[in-house]
């Protein structure tokens, strides 16, 4: 049960009772990269938001187990502290909150030893550089006025400092050009800590940048097929229709 994130027979509804996720099972081991694909509206983002604990959604049955611990109903921040990370498809802007100060506070919350502001800034700057993010980004307000690409990179920058055990990345690649994709995935592939990843994408090209261990196809709230990276080629050839 160690080094595993298990999604067990998970059902998710909206607050108003509309069922969206229909019994999903996934097992992600540390070091593995799982790719989740599916047409728009298949419930991928709902699944990821619900796993993190978004108040719009309700897990009606099933379990989320992180390293053997049932965290299904844990508060959002506790899930984060136990090592679950959600990379947002549309990162949220928070006016007046300095990016570096916010992230240092978040990092300090997660670890017992506190990092000094100066040391933290230096680490942050060097990581930002690797992502080809401008230095000034860390002095700006959280996601405010960031370009689409900067927002996506800033999510991964946060991930690299928070060092979670498992990351769910909701379309980290959407809106990025080829160069940005290269930087982003080169950075992800070279993270200096063990990580299991569930990566949601619409982009088959992603396989040029990342080595996928498993590919899953989600349609209408269910995972209808799982396989290795060859599954992506199948989708590329004939679309999702044949899986429906």
């Amino acid at each position: 049960m160690k080094n595993q994130l298990i999604i067990q027979d998970l059902f998710v509804s909206t607050k108003t009772g509309k069922q969206i996720v229909d019994g999903v099972n996934l097992k992600i081991k540390t070091g593995e990269i799982h790719i989740l694909m599916g047409p728009n509206g298949s419930g991928k983002s709902t699944l990821t938001d619900a796993l993190m604990g978004h108040p719009e959604y309700k897990i009606t049955s099933g379990k989320l187990i992180l390293n053997g611990q049932d965290i299904t109903n844990f508060p959002i921040d506790k899930k984060a502290k136990l090592g679950l990370f959600l990379g947002f498809q549309y990162p949220i802007e928070v006016a007046g909150v300095n990016f570096a100060q916010f992230l240092r506070m978040a990092v300090n919350e997660q670890s017992s030893k506190r990092v000094s502001p100066v040391a933290f800034r230096n680490i942050l700057k060097s990581q930002a550089k690797k992502l080809s993010l401008k230095d000034e980004i860390i002095e700006r307000c959280l996601n405010e006025g960031f370009s689409g690409g900067e927002k996506k990179k800033a999510e991964i920058l946060q991930l690299s400092l928070l060092k979670p055990k498992f990351a769910i990345l909701d379309e980290p690649d959407s809106g990025l050009d080829a160069d940005a994709l290269k930087y982003l995935f080169n950075f992800i592939n070279n993270l200096d800590f063990p990580l299991g990843m569930l990566l949601i994408t619409h982009n088959q090209r992603i396989l040029h940048f990342v080595k996928a261990d498993f590919v899953h196809i989600m349609i209408k709230g269910e995972i209808v097929k799982s396989g290795d990276f060859n599954l992506v080629e199948e989708i590329e050839r004939s679309g999702y229709a044949e899986f429906a």
């Binding site: 938001d49 993190m52 719009e56 921040d77 502290k81 947002f88 928070v94 909150v97 506070m105 959280l142």
Partner: protein, 444 residues
Amino acid sequence: MLNLPKGLNSKTVEAISHYKNEPDWMRRFRLKALGLFLKKSMPLWGADLSGINLDDIYYYISPTDKKFKSWDEVPKQIKDTYDKIGIPEAEKKFLAGVGAMYDSEVIYHNLKKQWEDKGVIFVSIDTALKIYPDIFKQYFSTVISPDDNKFASLNSAVWSGGSFVYIPKGVHVDIPLQAYFRINAVSMGQFERTLIIAEEGSYLTYIEGCSAPIYSKDSLHAAVVEIIVKKGARVRYTTIQNWSSNVYNLVTKRAIVEEEGICEWVDGNLGSKVTMKYPSVYLKGKGSKGEILSLAFASRNQIQDAGGKAVHLAPYTSSTITSKSVSVHGGRTSYRGFVKINHGAKGSKSLVRCSALILDSVSRSDTYPTNVIEEEDVTLGHEATVSKIGEQQIFYLMSRGLNETQASSMIVNGFIEPVIKQLPLEYAVELNKLIDLSMEGSLG
């Protein structure tokens, strides 16, 4: 030592004036103001003031007759009070002078020699009446008449304590003068009065802050602040008020700004039971400017009725009113603003921006803007936004490991950041701390 019983009548006023050994004109001024106060009705608008029992208030209390020239002489009890408020030792370094008000008396004054050499006067207002009677009489009550409103009448009748600042022509005082106020007696009224005169081309930054613990009985604070900004002068007056949650804080603040002069009010209101405060600029001279930045934070059982007032009396004048308010735990904030552009004030501009953040479903915020425009060739802008704290923002911040309180604190502190960055560091830090405490529900 003068200690008067509760309640207000002409004897109270006579006794205060007699005790202070005031000239006859001031005694008569006070009595006339008392007459106006008794005649005027309570305001028919704004917050509910029915909880004020005017007979149950001390109108004068004197804790000490002594004034202190050095920090060492200040009694331990008072120093402890400052420690609790969190005024750091380091502050002395960049303060030109400290006027600390304890009860109704200014007890400590220390103005550095460098300013005295330039002719700057910074003394308690009672002292100014004695030592600088001519200049005092020339300006006192010329900005706010005792007839202005019921609480200005009250203040005019029983005023005691406060600061007097005179900046001579061309002199720049860019180190903040600072005064700390504090209510320390049950049911005690505090009626300080501040008068600032900035001569032509001078510059002053004045900061006052106050913080008070919680008391069992209602208390009334009715202050008057008058500022005269002469041609080409610039004054910034910053206030952070955090009265205890039983205080009615009803303050009249106004500046008259002459040609090309600039007056800026930065006004932060955190505490009190009810605050009614609308710093005003009367733009009297051509090309003069007024800026009002108002911040209100209302928590449990608190009403913050705040805003600003700009009256354009001359051509090419401009005003900006920016209001930010936060309501939480059932607190209520109101923005109340008044902009008037007189006939003939052509080419004038005014911009009002108010934004309110409401943190929960039991809290409330209202906006009451009034614009009176008598001139055609003017520009007037008004932006108002009300937002509830974003579920998405909370979710986002919590997904990074912050708990709900930390997340909301962060959002609130971010929201008021445009005001915070106008404050000296110590204030900014203190304010952020106070907001964190409020969010945890451990205040108020």
